[in-house]
Amino acid sequence: MEFLDFRWDIIWNYRESFIRGIWVTLILTICGFIGGFILGVLLGLGKNSKKKWLYFPCKLYIDLFRGTPLLVQIFIIHLALIPTLFGHSLGFMVSGITALVLNCAAYTAEIIRAGIQSIDKGQMEAARSLGLNQFQAMRKVILPQAFRRMIPPLGNEFITLLKDSSLVTVIAANDILYAAKVVSGAYFRFWEPYLAAAALYLTLTFIVSKVVSLIERRFSIEYNPRKNKNEGRVGA
C-alpha cells in the first residue's frame, strides 16, 4: 500500500532545510512576540486609559489588527507598506517580523487590558492613597499582580504566533513549512514533508507549553503559603 510506503530518507536528505526552518520559525516567533509584547503593553495601557485621545487610537489599532486576517496583513506590509516606505523590499525577515509584531501586539494588548482590569480597584486606591502616582502604582502594585494572571493567556498567544508564523512562507520565508514545500516540490511526495513539518510544529508548541506552565508555577510560589520561602525568617 502506497500509504505505508513512507520514504523518510527524503526528509533526512533535506535535514538542513528543516533545521534552518526551525531557526527561522523560532526567530520570527520570538522577535514577533517580544516586539508584540512591548507594543502590546503600551496599547493595553492606552486602551485602559480614561483619556479619549489615548483610548481611541489604541482601540482602533486593536480592532483593525484583530479584525483582519494575518495573511492579508503580511501581504500589505511586504508588498505595499515596506516598498512604499523604503523604495524596495527589505526581505521576508523584516516584513515577516513586522507583520507578526503588529499582529501580536493587538492580541497581547487585549490580554494586558483584561489582566489589568481583573485587579480589584481597591489595589489602585490603596496605592494612590499612600501617595504613589499613577505610574508608580501601576509598576509596583497593579502590573506585578496582573502579569501573573496574564502568563497563561500570553503563553497561548505565543503558541498561536508560533503556528501563525507559518503564514510568512507565502512571502518566501524559509521557515519549517517552506522546507516541507521544497521537499514536496523536489520529490512530488506530500505525506512525508508535511507530516514532518507538522511534527516539528507540534514538538515546538509542546515545549513552549511546558515552559509556560513552568513559568506559571514559578511565579505562583509566593502565593502559595505552604511553599513560602521566607517562612521561618520570623523577626529576622
Binding site: S129, L130, G131
Partner: protein, 240 residues
C-alpha cells in the same frame, strides 16, 4: 487642620454630597455615622481626592486640596487611609507592604524602612508576621497591617472607612484597640463607623450624615444622649 467648605459631589445625575461644611482640628477624633448610602464613604474619599470634588473646597493645613496647582500625591502622603476591605498588596510580604511607599516616596533606605516597619508591626502586635503574605493572616490581622502601612508614611491625618465592617465579630476589638491607641497618642482621625460603642468612647465629635448632608454634629454624649433631629433619633433608635 482640615477645613471643608460647601462640599458637593455628584456621580452624573446622582447628588451624593449636598453642601458639607466642617472643620476638624488637630488631634481630634471625628466619627461619622449615618445610614447606608448617605454619602459617608464619599465624604471621606473626597478628603484625599479618591473622588473628584464637584464643587466646594477642602483645605488641609491651609493647602487647598482641589486646586490644579496642588500636588495631590504630596497631599495623600500626609493623609493615611484604611479601607473596609484592607486592600493589602497580595504579591508582597507584610513588611514589603509597609516599606514600599516610604522607600519609594520618602526615599528611605531599606534598612531604615524595615526598622520602621517592624516598629509599627510591634505596635499593632504583629511583629512575628512580618515575613508572611497577607492571605496567610486573619482579617483582623490584615486590617492591623493596613493601619501600620498607612502609619509608615507618618501621616498627619488618618481616614478610616468602616475598618471593622468586613471582620468577623471576634476580630473587631483587636482593630478597635489599635485605633484607640492611635487616638490616645494624639492622631487626628476621621472614622466612618457602625461601631457606636467606639464612637461614644473615643470620638471627640460625632457627625450624623443623611442624604448627603450633615444633619447633626456634636459631642458624642450629646449626639447619643440627646439627639436633636428626628432623623438622628430614628437612626440611633435602629442601631443602638
Amino acid at each position: 487642620m482640615i477645613k471643608i467648605e460647601n462640599l458637593h459631589k455628584s456621580f452624573g445625575e446622582l447628588h451624593v454630597l449636598n453642601g458639607i461644611d466642617y472643620e476638624i482640628q488637630e488631634k481630634e477624633v471625628v466619627c461619622v455615622i449615618g445610614p447606608s448610602g448617605s454619602g459617608k464613604s464619599t465624604f471621606l474619599r473626597c478628603i484625599n481626592l479618591l473622588e473628584e470634588i464637584s464643587d466646594g473646597a477642602i483645605y488641609i493645613d491651609g493647602t487647598k486640596v482641589n486646586d490644579r496647582n496642588t500636588d495631590i500625591n504630596k497631599i495623600r502622603t500626609e493623609v493615611g487611609m484604611v479601607f473596609q476591605q484592607f486592600n493589602l498588596f497580595p504579591h508582597m510580604t507584610v513588611i514589603d507592604n509597609i516599606t514600599m511607599a516610604p522607600m519609594l516616596i520618602r526615599k528611605m533606605n531599606k534598612h531604615e524602612a524595615e526598622e520602621l516597619a517592624l516598629e509599627l508591626l510591634s505596635k499593632v502586635g504583629l511583629r512575628e508576621k512580618a515575613y508572611n503574605y497577607p492571605q496567610q493572616l486573619s482579617g483582623g490581622q490584615q486590617q492591623r497591617v493596613a493601619i501600620a502601612r498607612a502609619l509608615a508614611m507618618k501621616p498627619k491625618v488618618m481616614l478610616f472607612d468602616e475598618p471593622t465592617s468586613a471582620l468577623d465579630p471576634e476580630m473587631v476589638n483587636e482593630v478597635l484597640d489599635v485605633m484607640k491607641q492611635l487616638a490616645f497618642e494624639g492622631m487626628t482621625m476621621v472614622v466612618v463607623t457602625h461601631e457606636m460603642g467606639f464612637a461614644r468612647e473615643v470620638a471627640d465629635r460625632v457627625i450624623f450624615m443623611d442624604g448627603g448632608v450633615i444633619v447633626e454634629e456634636g459631642k458624642p454624649e450629646d449626639i447619643f444622649g440627646n439627639p436633636k433631629h428626628e432623623r438622628t433619633k430614628a437612626f440611633l433608635s435602629k442601631v443602638l
